[in-house]
Amino acid sequence: MWVIMKGDKEIVGTLRGFDVYVNMVLEDVTEIEDTPEGKKLTKLDQILLNGNNIAMLVPGAKPDYL
């Protein structure tokens, strides 16, 4: 699952669960900050991503540079 957030940030991970607010639990997550195009923080385990900032969800895809 490729998650695009408001404000030039993207998250790629495996969707484990979600709720009615589209808060999402993602596993094996790579976080991509897009300002100078290149800050990547890879975090394992699981994250709970706040649905507040999510703009778009692209299932079954990842960005080319990954």
Binding site: M5, G17, F18, V20, D45, L48, N50
Partner: protein
């Protein structure tokens, strides 16, 4: 139709946000805020609004800034994500 989102997706091991929150209490976590500031610490407790109470919190902006010990409280409003950490470095 409104029910589907809450119940339809869960498989045998439910890892909905509610389950996740129960599972990580007491664990080392990294909390990122909308502002981009990172906080690493041990999750004491949290609620449905993503308000967080943590212990032994360290604040990272680009390098390491403030160190907080004892309890830190973060208003859920500002939380971008909560990540479970297997080891806090």
């Amino acid at each position: 139709m409104a029910d589907a989102a809450g119940t339809g997706m869960s498989t045998g091991v439910s890892k909905t946000p509610a389950e996740f929150l129960k599972a990580i209490k007491g664990k080392a976590v990294l909390v990122k805020l909308n502002s981009g500031v990172d906080y690493r610490g041990i999750l004491a407790c949290l609620d449905g609004y993503m308000n967080i109470a943590m212990e032994q919190t360290e604040e990272y902006v680009n390098g390491q800034l403030k160190n907080k010990y004892g309890d830190a409280f973060i208003r859920g409003n500002n939380v971008l994500y909560i990540s479970a950490l297997s080891k806090s470095s």
